[in-house]
């Protein structure tokens, strides 16, 4: 009787285990192939070169990294991309966060029109980036010069076609449209703050700004940290919308790492000889971004505001 009961229990457990395995096996298999294998292959590819004549790949040592040095560093392209990528990052991630957190606080406090603002800020999520960029591009290209001419009588070039204002225009666009995404995230995080904390502070006579600084920011700091940490990797991946602005024909002086990587891969999607160098470049960026991310995480944890 006892043995029979135990056997039924084991049978039930086995059934549960079988169902558990059935649930997770496909997602795990996908993860192993499309994440683990891809990341390992990224490392392998970086140290290979492809022979078109024999149609085989062979070990290339540090050749791809030397090629990166010769093609990108020595020619000055790397410095330009680094400068541009950092400018985009500072404006969109760092300065964007400051503005977005203030806007979020305004919406969170249910100040006038906050619901309307919230709805409109969702717009960049729904509308494709290529659509917004195209409208923005034609607006600064045709409408702004026309407006300037009407107001001042001065003829100016389109802001995107003028080399002097081209990059500033792109950075402005990134900052302008980037706000929306961040604001929605922070508003959700602020919505999770216990209302009693804010009520208690109000009874103690806390001001609008002090509540923001001493209560709201520390309580949403984990969300802020996540955004900053994911933002570090974006130094190397952010295309700054350049592909939507100009396709493959964006001038070299405006390239960011993200744009360069995407365009090169797009151009060489059927040319396997170009893949190892691109893989090496990606690997290089990962090796810079990973310790930077962990360092930033440690710094934010140590010096960031405390909930206490």
């Amino acid at each position: 009787m006892h043995a029979k009961g135990l056997s039924a229990k084991t049978k039930r457990k086995m059934k549960k285990l079988a169902f558990y395995i059935a649930l997770i096996s496909l997602p795990i298999l996908q993860f192993l192939i499309f994440y683990v294998y891809v990341n390992i292959n990224s490392f392998v590819l970086a140290f290979q070169e492809y022979d078109v004549f024999t149609n085989t790949a062979k070990f290339a040592g540090w050749n791809n990294f030397i090629k990166i040095y010769k093609d990108l560093v020595e020619t000055g392209k790397f410095a330009v991309m680094l400068k541009n990528s950092l400018i985009v990052w500072v404006w969109t991630t760092l300065l964007g966060i400051v503005g977005a957190i203030f806007f979020s606080y305004y919406i969170y406090k249910k100040s006038p029109f906050s619901n309307l603002f919230r709805t409109i800020l969702y717009m960049p999520h729904i509308v494709s980036s290529v659509v917004l960029i195209v409208m923005f591009k034609y607006f600064v290209e045709w409408a702004v010069p026309s407006l300037v001419e009407t107001l001042t009588g001065k003829l100016i070039e389109g802001l995107y076609s003028n080399p002097d204002t081209q990059f500033v225009t792109v950075v402005f666009y990134c900052l302008w449209m980037g706000f929306g995404t961040q604001v929605l995230m922070y508003v959700s995080a602020m919505g999770g703050i216990d209302a009693s904390i804010s009520e208690a502070a109000k009874i103690d006579g806390i001001t609008y700004l002090k509540e923001f600084w001493y209560i709201t920011v520390p309580l949403v700091f984990p969300t802020l940290t996540t955004f900053i940490l994911t933002g570090i990797g974006s130094i190397f991946t952010n295309q700054a919308g350049l592909y939507s602005f100009g396709g493959k024909n964006v001038p070299g002086s405006m390239h960011t790492f993200g744009y360069y990587m995407y365009v090169e891969l797009q151009k060489n999607s059927a040319n396997q000889t170009a893949w190892p160098m691109l893989s090496a470049l990606g690997l290089l960026f990962t090796f810079v971004a990973t310790p930077l991310t962990f360092l930033a995480r440690w710094l934010l944890g140590k010096y960031g505001p405390s909930v206490e």
Binding site: L17, L23, F34, S42, F102, L147, T286
Partner: protein, 286 residues
């Protein structure tokens, strides 16, 4: 007694900036909509940049619908992929892709919440680690992998990429399912329901609202995404891919600003309607 709260100076400054900001976004879309109905003559020659169209040029939309195509070469044969086909590919790519992208994290989160195996801890830690480590140079090896698996330039390849459980949605599902009482499931077990029935009939409806939100968010993302199809399935152009091609045109009768913007509107309108309908539906359900 005046119950109205007086605004402080910080609020006034923020209100001003937010007002300017939101007006600028709405105005840009409105300007785009007006421009899409102008003729090239009205827009560029007459310099009617801000006014209403002199004549509402519906033919801009007609031209994009009837004459926009993406030329692709599949197995050595040239094809002209028209807007109709682009919409079909989009519905397939975004529709199935969003379901897969929402379903994979649900499956693993459900497994972790329903069953208490040691492997759960490993899976949960794995998700956190993968989310922290920046993924930068994986597009090249992904392309190589798709070639190796014979999945390059196929929608199936894109589906396989989307079926990933790692990410924020796993954590969201895990949080919700972790809070669901097991008593419903236990009662169903006593009534003779098997694990699949418990998952589909009892637990899935509890997360249906969140699931549908995730599907919508992913659907919007895939609907608007032109870079993934361009890179991984170039001969199956989606509508976003077609519109991107249109915006980069330098020749032909579609190469005029109002028509390019009209193309953009064709991409925007369906997704905006879907979003409004979904919000309305959710609002009614709540």
């Amino acid at each position: 007694m005046n119950k109205k709260k007086r605004m402080n100076i910080t609020e006034i400054i923020l209100l001003t900036i937010l007002t300017i900001y939101t007006i600028s976004i709405v105005y840009l879309v409105f300007w785009g909509l007006l421009t899409s109905f102008k003729t090239q003559d009205d827009f560029l020659i007459q310099q009617n940049m801000f006014g209403l169209p002199e004549k509402w040029a519906w033919e801009n939309y007609e031209a994009v619908f009837n004459r926009l195509y993406v030329q692709v070469v599949r197995d050595g044969v040239r094809y002209k992929i028209t807007v109709g086909w682009q919409i079909l590919y989009t519905l397939l790519y975004a529709g199935v892709g969003s379901l897969l992208a929402a379903f994979a994290p649900f499956l693993v989160a459900y497994a972790c919440a329903r069953f208490h195996f040691r492997f759960n801890a490993f899976l949960e830690t794995l998700v956190y680690i993968v989310m922290i480590i920046p993924e930068i140079g994986t597009t090249t090896p992904m392309l190589a992998l798709l070639y190796d698996l014979n999945l390059y330039d196929s929608i199936l390849g894109a589906f396989c990429m989307k079926f990933s459980f790692v990410g924020i949605y796993f954590l969201i599902y895990r949080g919700i399912l972790g809070g669901v009482s097991q008593s419903f499931s236990e009662a169903a077990t006593i009534d003779g329901a098997n694990e699949l029935e418990i998952m589909v009939r009892i637990n899935f409806p509890l997360v249906l609202n969140v699931f549908s939100t995730v599907v919508l968010i992913r659907f919007i993302g895939f609907w608007n995404d032109y870079q993934t199809p361009l890179l991984y399935m170039p001969t199956y152009p989606t509508l976003a891919y077609g519109i991107f091609n249109l915006t980069q045109m330098t020749t032909g009768d579609l190469n005029i600003t109002p028509r390019k913007i009209a193309g953009c509107m064709i991409l925007v309108v369906p997704i905006t309607i879907l979003f409004i309908m979904f919000k309305d539906c959710q609002h009614r359900r709540n």
